[in-house]
Subunit: 337 residues, 4 copies
């Protein structure tokens, strides 16, 4: 059970609710958010009789939670959430494509990508400036300079931009320059960072961790939602299994399951899941057919020279083929590319 | 390196090849098949200079294997294999649907399924007679009686039938009554059974094991092909991972990878992979979009009363919806449903 | 609920029990074994009131099953089962070591192993005659000839022997020549084979499948026990995970869990789990410390020349070191090596 | 290839090395650390002929890397590293036990633990102050207050303390109050945090991520070592697999493999891997037998009332039994408890 207090609830009102819960034999846990306090009830194994609580003052809502997450749950929010970024909407009948290089490498490279992609009607440009790399000796991104190059490329070509926030200290810069804050798979359970992006003013693209269950993904979304940021887009990008024929195993079943459990939009990243550009087109077609709310794909003018993830990156010709194939499917699936 | 001997190669010819291989410092391993002998070369870590062997008599072909399997490999057989079952072809631009109940339960049940499915243009009827069940106390199938009921239902409604062979002793009965022999996931590495179906006169539907790599799946196909049966259809049906939101994790990336590695047709089983009928339609749409050569789905007049796998089984209304959705996609994907 | 009928129960008595169950609204499933019939109750989701059944004739026992398996469960058989093979006992305070080559390769090889091992007090000799190999081109074992060589080597050196049964057709030969029938990981869910070894007169060493849960392993044991063979030894040999630093991931926690769930003895195979002889000694030490009832290790006079699994096989010097290290631990752990 | 520059190497010297690498046709990547610059060579697939580089000025060392990590590798540092914390040494022939509650909950609780544990000769007290919790509604720890209570309890009872650092902002507090900084499994790939603890003055206990390979664990250690902090202790705490009989699957084989690959000490956490206090004693015995350099176990005066992880926590009586059993083994294994 979760008791959501009004925004202006006083300390006394909160204390009274806590006492009432404790008298029922449970543990009460006030959860201060940036806008309001919620009070969780811990220790009950089944539904709680809330008669003794309902009448207290300062309460906005009593929610009988049947899942470990609440704000992310469709029980709590039956209709689909729409996340709007300028002219693009995630979660409705559009199928947005986020495209761009793994890393921003130079002005020339990112401008070239933006020019090409915008000419194909793509509205969202991705590019990493702060890169989480398994090896300390691998290219770590251009940092703030990369953010600026990305932002400029977007502005020059009428695109909004997506980039990854890696830590609490550089988050402010990311928020300033980006339109969508990406949280990468390795940071899906970096809770302090999730709380901070929960207080940010930009939508969040939350990637599923390498071995995260869907409930864990939704609990991570809950961290963000609970701080007041309702614009969360989920991203399935493959999980780690015994299999080695693809870099990760794309869990395509996650899409209908997440759409049932949650109201949040969910997209697929066919580049990171497969690790192989030859798989990007078939997996993107599967993504649109299974009902995903979009895809994020890596594109580079010359993938062979990319400083990271070249093997999974499309060149411009391949990207054109991808769009052509998706358009045919979008048409019969009644979604707008 | 694999030396394939002519069918009528003599023992002396085989011995001469073995000696030549051994003189090169490798181990020679004659592999007697039902029709011919092949001689494997073991111990080489790279390509072998075959000069000393090429001139020997009785040799049909020398194959320099770069993968652990050969007959199943596209290197060896570049064009797509077509597996024909009456009016249906797997591996070309058809998208055959195999449908029917998990188990044959009664004459009424299987006739009802066949009548319905044939009225929808479905040409292949599935139904289990010998059931591999995790528990010895679970319904084990009707056995020979089930085979007869399935065959009759097929004949009465102009359908060909698919059923599982579970062991070497009942295989003869299965071969007599079925049109496609299914090898289930638990038997994917039952090599004596694979060898026996390799000598059978019916096509084989080989399901991927619960934790089999694609190379292991293709090596199991190799056991069948190596005995002379070239009509093998592969089936992706989900693998076991940490995740629990579906019964198994459908590895959809396996489809493009298998199509690249092998010439054999490959279909998807969305019922067993998900274990939940609500996922069957979205996963079937993903299957046709990703390029699978067909699907196998479970259908039952009243799934709630099915003796096995009811939760993942469609009823007739849901099946009609599935067909309607697939038809739209088939149209733009240029495949024939 | 499971109703175990007396051995001489008549068809009428069985029918009466079936009717009584059906009148309670459940499905009754007679499960004929070779010695007796049991009747499973299907469809109840909780405990069943057995008042209407208890008084019927022909019933030996009514068992209220709370786990999917019964005969393998400690609920049903609280004390540890002891499996005796000549002078060796599994399941008590001995720590038997089964040792020998992966495959029987020649008389010289297996005699040499037996001579060495018996001189070290080892009483159980392993050696494969029928080998399940992932590739059809790999060494498949010496077959019947291998069985005879193994048996002879055992007899010549006062050892009992362990070898794998791969299929229903060669099982009779295996049973004739071996003292313990091994069921390999790939056949853990080959139910027809399990039923046949359940009717055999020799103890069974049942290896856990590559991705089998412990409940699935115990259900496979249940197939054997249910046919009347009570001498089942379980074997943990590693499971398949994302990790590649060992061939399989040894699930050492399975030992205390299986000992809690079941009364059956459970041993560890450090050779197959690791796939690397350098790990055999530390893992064997972990096995004895964690409370396993024994180990099975691969030993060969010259591992580098072994026809299978050489990388994980100890030579005689390494085996001596293994014994020396285990003896020290056995002493303080109060188990007899 | 990695070129380590002297501490005082000039920009010109660094540029000269970069140019020399580029002339060889490779990509040069300067990696500025806090103390020195290293230059990685990217793009070579095999060993590089370093003749043209060796003579340049400002170079401290040229390292031909054969593994993705270097500083963590035994190739680079053949002898075992010893990590000393007051009177305790990790990595030698001691078997240190880190013990204490999952979370610091109150002064009474942590003092009670410290009193008990110090009376048993335990020298290292653990306790979480900042807790990474899957749910935003779960107990998040006492924060700074918890750090102070832990430090005091340690001081009062002559123990050193271990606690987790969760983020870059609270790291300073953690470093001030703790003697060993724990990096939890969820943060194993939080690279900005790893870099910061790499510059801290306290030893680091680095836990393996839920689905991290051993190479990824060692690359995370490399991030810390590369910043100058050589006192890293690795911790195996179970990985996520398909199995559910334990919370995570303890990968005991990781111990001998890590000891071969790396010079760093490696301990086991039997509490988090199993999630069940009944497994802690057998797994701890396996840990000492397999050659781990210590364990970390959860202990609480009344586990049933613990605010987190109660199910896997020992009470004082159980802890005494653990110590008794480990002492017997330590004696024959020649390690000091």
């Amino acid at each position: 059970m979760l008791i959501v207090m009004r925004q202006n609830a006083s300390e006394e009102e909160i204390s009274a609710v806590v006492s009432a819960i404790e008298e029922l034999g449970f543990d009460a846990r006030p959860i201060p958010g940036s806008n309001r306090t919620a009070i969780g009830t811990i220790g009950n194994t089944g539904p709680v009789d809330d008669t003794a609580i309902r009448g207290l003052s300062g309460i906005k809502e009593i929610i009988h939670v049947t899942k470990p997450y609440k704000l992310a749950s469709r029980d709590f929010h039956p209709q689909d959430s729409l996340v709007r970024v300028d002219k693009t909407t995630f979660g409705g009948n559009e199928f947005p494509i986020i495209a761009g290089p793994c890393s921003v490498e130079s002005e020339e490279q990112i401008e070239s990508c933006a020019e090409f992609l915008s000419s194909r009607g793509i509205k969202l440009l991705r590019g990493g400036a702060f890169k989480p790399r398994t090896s300390p000796y691998a290219f770590q991104g251009l940092g703030l300079e990369g953010l600026k190059l990305l932002k400029n490329a977007g502005r020059n070509h009428g695109m909004k931009v997506v980039t990854e926030a890696m830590d609490m200290i550089t988050l402010d810069d990311v928020v300033e320059y980006t339109d969508i804050i990406q949280i990468g798979a390795r940071n899906m359970q970096n809770y302090p960072l999730l709380k901070m992006v929960g207080q940010a003013s930009k939508p969040v693209l939350l990637k599923r961790g390498l071995s995260a269950t869907l409930d864990e993904l939704l609990l991570s979304a809950e961290y963000i939602l609970n701080e007041g940021n309702q614009n969360v887009i989920l991203c399935e990008r493959g999980v780690r299994t015994f299999d080695t024929h693809s870099r990760n195993t794309l869990d395509i079943t996650a899409i209908p399951v997440l759409k049932e459990k949650s109201h949040l939009p969910v997209i697929i990243d066919p580049s990171h899941s497969s690790g192989d550009r030859k798989r990007v087109i078939p997996l993107s077609k599967a993504a649109i057919a299974v009902g995903a709310h979009g895809i994020m794909v890596e594109v580079h003018p010359t993938p062979a020279k990319a400083k990271s993830d070249g093997a999974q990156t499309l060149d411009f010709t391949q990207f054109d083929l991808l769009i052509k194939e998706l358009k045919m499917l979008a048409n019969v699936l009644k979604v707008t590319l």
